[in-house]
Amino acid sequence: MEADGVIGRYAIVGAFAASYYVEPTLTAELDILVSFEMEARQRKSGLVTLEPIFSYRKDKGYEEFRKDVVIEGWPVQFIPVADDLDAAALAEAKEANIDDNAGAVRTRVLGAEHLVASCLRIGRAKDFIRITQLLEGNVLDLPLLCTILSRHGLTESWRAFCFRNGISDPCGPY
């Protein structure tokens, strides 16, 4: 879809992205953070439409399930870039290879530190579990994480998360 110009840059986020770094987690769908080239009139209104994806779905004969596009059996949720954090996370997403018997596929996965920042911003119980998994998995570049949190105004949420979970704050003292 990226090569066909339907979407701009993309990266895997959510449970699949977390599974890249730590133990695999059960999930119902594949979440994709995606940017779109906006036309001038869209830039004015700020509205992003997923129409190109749904047109592409129809052309390719992919099914739709609860507003997700089902690609090769997986409901895929396309999440448009919604703020500076998303934009930075997408720009700095890591290149990843999926090598199996069917051959190699190159893709992009959100960096672990941006994944933590994103989970913190969303703030559901399962997002906090994901942060804990990434912390316990020792996969985080902590100085980088602290910089990202500070840059995107998430320091207070992070301090509260650390306090609630009895974690010694690696970004402190402030």
Binding site: F16, S19, Y20, P24, L26, N97, D99, G137
Partner: protein
């Protein structure tokens, strides 16, 4: 009451988590797919249960409206 020490169980669990975190991305995707297949019957059963529940509530609402 004396409780048993479960620290070795927790340590083994942490070790197991570390082990399943080490395969390649492709292998992990295969694990996720396998997990999805394993829970599919439970998911179907839950959806059926919810549909039945919804049907029951709709019936109740219709009955109330009619009463």
């Amino acid at each position: 009451m004396i409780y048993p020490d479960v620290s070795d169980i927790l340590a083994r669990k942490a070790e197991a988590r570390k082990e399943i975190a080490s395969p390649s991305f492709a292998e992990k995707i295969a694990i996720i797919e396998a997990m999805r297949e394993r829970v599919a019957p439970f998911k179907r059963a839950r959806e059926q249960r919810l549909a039945t529940q919804e049907q029951r509530l709709t019936k109740q609402a219709v009955r109330r409206i009619g009463a």
